[in-house]
């Protein structure tokens, strides 16, 4: 019985993890590419330089392919709480449901409707109004991110609620909306979106340079991408670090696990790399590279700060919540944190080198850099996935930090068999989607950029007479 219950919860977790990670491969590119495309169209509107129009249409198509998959997979996320986590839904609905409902009303409706206007409105709206529809859609996507992160942050750091008859009830919507955790997570996630947009755009421009395709045109886009990428990748390191400090106070266990810090330390060194040291029975790494005092600074802001260890936190949570294991999987959390951070630094490096090459007017000719930038397209995807693994697996065993355990939160009426079947359905569907998407993107990227964007070839070939 216990084993079956574990399997059921693990299947539900696997399903939520796969579907939400997949969803978040498309969402941040939408968040980041949206404003960049809007800037391009604004530049066209202001200067009437046809090059900006061609770039708007080129990157606009990428933006739309992504948005469509984001919508399709987003509906799955909204339904999945109720389908797989009914106990959770009952427990949190009063609080967590509100930002989700508001997201639909205030943000999603805006982005979906106005993107429809933008896609089909080229000939039907005045240029000024048409440009405005894109900006409104972009505002919609950024608002949407805020409400979703308010909901998610409440699971990490519950605020503005009271418990009534075993259910969380909202007591202050302002506390909910101004949750410090949510505001930091929002800035961190929106910066991640801009990194996605700019790094992907830079990579695509470099691909075009490599193929010597419309070099002048893509140099303009590369410049825009670099103007965004350099400051934003740098800012993200600072913000990410500040966010880490906020997590330390709300979720000490998550930070201790992300550092594989078994015992309380003061001052604490930051482990850059280590072999072993990831389990309670093997707490000391056989090999490690450590920067003295850096962890103290990152977690507390002082080079002599104290960071609590996993063992001490486990004892403390046992006293507070009763017997049980309160540690997440240390190895996964340690590495997801590092993969995210190292990818962030690599992206800063790529952006900085790209900017230097641009400044020396060598960007379009540095073929080694083109290949690097193409590979770097994968970096934001890896970093974001690692970031969510850190955030959500680091929260375990809690589904709502300190209030409800994941193992108590799944739907009692959904059998293990059906969870397995639905997981298979989503995996198969998403795999198919992915293959088709890659095929489309490659095809799209290879196609000659339309010489005259106002007059593409008719897309419907006349059918032979019936």
């Amino acid at each position: 019985m216990g084993v079956l219950a574990d399997t059921t919860v693990n299947l539900a977790r696997a399903q939520f993890a796969t579907t939400s990670i997949y969803h978040f491969l498309f969402v941040p590119l939408t968040l980041g590419l949206g404003p960049l495309v809007a800037v391009m169209q604004t530049a066209w509107y202001r200067t009437r330089n046809e090059q900006w129009l061609r770039l708007t249409k080129f990157f606009g198509t990428l933006f739309l392919i992504n948005f469509a998959i984001g919508v399709a997979t987003g509906l799955v996320q909204e339904f999945e709480f109720g389908m797989n986590w009914s106990v959770y839904s009952r427990f949190v609905g009063n609080v967590f449901g509100a930002p989700l409902a508001v997201e639909g009303l205030a943000a999603f409706a805006l982005e979906a409707t106005f993107l429809g206007l933008w896609i089909f409105g080229w000939d039907r709206l005045s240029p000024r109004l048409h440009l405005a529809t894109l900006w409104v859609a972009v505002v919609g996507t950024w608002m949407s991110g805020y409400f979703i992160l308010v909901a998610n942050s409440w699971m990490q750091h519950p605020v503005g609620y009271k418990l009534v008859n075993g259910e969380a009830q909202l007591t202050s919507v302002w506390a909910l909306m101004s949750n410090g955790f949510a505001l930091r997570a929002y800035v961190h996630t929106m910066l991640a979106g801009l990194i996605f947009g700019s790094i992907v755009m830079l990579g695509i421009c470099c691909w075009q340079f490599l193929r010597r395709q419309d070099v002048d045109l893509f140099l303009k886009a590369a410049k825009l991408a670099l103007i965004v990428a350099v400051p934003v990748t740098f800012l993200q390191l600072v913000v990410g670090n500040r966010f880490g400090a906020a997590v330390t106070s709300a979720q000490s266990m998550k930070i201790a696990a992300s550092e594989a810090q078994w015992d309380t330390c003061q001052p604490c060194g930051f482990s850059l790399f280590q072999i072993g040291g990831f389990t309670a029975s093997d707490p000391t790494p056989s090999f490690s590279i450590t920067v003295p005092r850096l962890l103290s600074y990152m977690a507390t802001g002082s080079f002599n700060g104290q960071v609590q260890g996993l063992n001490q936190l486990q004892a403390q949570e046992q006293r507070q919540y009763g017997r049980g294991n309160y540690m997440p999987d240390v190895r996964t959390i340690y590495w997801s944190m590092r993969v995210m951070a190292y990818m962030g630094m690599l992206m800063l490096l790529v952006a900085a080198v790209g900017a230097w090459l641009y400044w020396r007017q060598k960007l379009e000719r540095s073929r080694w850099f083109h290949r690097t930038a193409i590979v770097a397209i994968s970096f934001p995807y890896i970093a974001a996935t690692a970031g969510w693994i850190l955030t959500e697996m680091g929260r375990q065993p809690w589904i709502v930090q300190g209030l409800l355990k994941t193992s108590d939160a799944n739907s009692p009426s959904v059998s293990t068999t059906w969870l397995a079947i639905s997981l298979t359905v989503f995996l198969a569907l998403y795999l198919l989607l992915f293959v088709l998407d890659v095929w489309l993107m490659r095809r799209f990227g290879r196609r000659e950029l339309e010489a005259a964007p106002e007059a593409p070839a008719p897309s419907a070939a006349p059918e032979p007479a019936a």
């Binding site: 389908m83 609905g93 979906a112 009426s413």
Partner: protein
């Protein structure tokens, strides 16, 4: 008005909006394999719903989120209990969403045929299952004393719920056809009118049968009097009769208005029959989920009420404006709008 009742009504309104709007884009999707004479007309059909389907689906997203926030117990029981039905709907909707974006990305006839069928199957399937699922809320499924679903997928299938599914499919197909009659011209418009006439009688018969049976189920299984459910049911049947009359008399604008009303009144009848419960339990009627039992606390309802009061009218304004922008009729015989091709020799472009 009591906020719990307000939110029950609002969720009915959201479902009504969903049936009215996505109803016709589902309907157009269902007709894709059968109605157009050639690929160009089929592209025009896609184009009549291309700019708006996404905004239409918003109503479902909002209905889902609103149910989670306003009635967590309803959301939890329905979504976990109707698991397989919702899984199927999600899969069908995902495939359908992609058909809009991806069909036009290649000119290969095989590629286009695949996505045309994806859209058609998605439209029929999602309509059918939504009909079955929503009807099952009223007909009753096994719930335990804690409000958990304890039945199986088979409990969703009764004569009544299946009829509901078929009625929703037929009414949506009819609604989609009348939509095409006001959004197209030329041969495509004629074909749409012919399809609408063909569908009208079936939609009237099955739709009215569903409405009448709903009133009977409300009385038998949900402890309701004939009144008030009979009122929206009669209006719904009346709207279907009018739609049949208008489409026969080639009054397409009025026919579309009538099918739109009919789609909304299907939802109205169902929700009127359901109140004051949100999910009927059968066989243990006492375990039914009620509006007051499933609702969130007053404070949450107050917060989302304020947001809805401000935002819903704004949504109506900008979605209305969208329909105004894309009001122009499209022809199946001319080149697709937005894709200029050389003017035919000797023919002046229409003003």
């Amino acid at each position: 008005m009591d906020l719990q009742i307000l939110w029950f009504v609002l969720i009915a309104v959201l479902w009504g909006g969903y049936f009215l709007l996505e109803g016709f884009d589902f309907g157009v999707g269902m007709l894709l394999p059968f109605l157009p004479r050639n690929e160009r007309q089929r592209s025009t059909m896609f184009e009549t719903i291309g700019p708006v389907w996404d905004g239409n689906e918003v109503w479902l997203v909002i209905a889902g989120g609103a149910t989670f926030a306003a009635f967590p117990d309803w959301y939890a029981t329905m979504f976990s209990g109707f698991y397989i039905a919702l899984l199927l709907i999600l899969a069908l909707l995902i495939v359908r969403v992609l058909s809009f974006e991806w069909r036009e990305k290649s000119e290969s006839p095989a590629w286009r045929r695949v996505w045309m069928w994806a859209n058609a199957v998605g439209s029929v399937g999602a309509s059918l299952i939504w009909g079955i699922a929503l009807a099952s809320l009223l007909h009753g499924t096994p719930l335990d004393s804690k409000g958990e679903f304890v039945g199986t997928f088979a409990d969703l299938f009764t004569g009544y719920s299946v009829l509901a599914g078929v009625a929703v499919v037929l009414v949506f197909a009819f609604h989609g056809a009348t939509y095409l009659t006001i959004r197209t011209h030329g041969e495509l418009c004629d074909r749409a009118a012919r399809a609408a006439r063909g569908l009208s009688v079936a939609a009237l018969l099955v739709g009215s049968g569903f409405l009448a049976w709903t009133v009977a189920v409300a009385v038998d299984r949900n402890d309701k009097d004939v009144f008030p459910p009979v009122l929206p049911a009669a209006l719904g049947a009346g709207a279907l009769v009018l739609a049949v009359v208008f489409i026969q008399r080639r009054r397409s604008g009025l026919a579309f208005t009538a099918t739109a009303l009919a789609a909304v009144l299907l939802v109205t009848t169902l929700f009127t029959s359901l109140y004051p419960r949100v999910m009927v339990s059968s066989p243990d009627f006492a375990n039914s989920l009620t509006v007051s039992g499933a609702a969130s606390a007053h404070y949450t309802l107050k917060v989302i009420s304020i947001v809805a009061a401000i935002v819903l009218p704004v949504i109506l304004i900008y979605q209305g404006w969208t329909y105004h922008v894309f009001r122009q009729r499209l022809g199946g015989d001319e080149p697709e709008p937005g894709l200029p091709t050389p003017d035919p020799p000797g023919v002046e472009p229409a003003a």
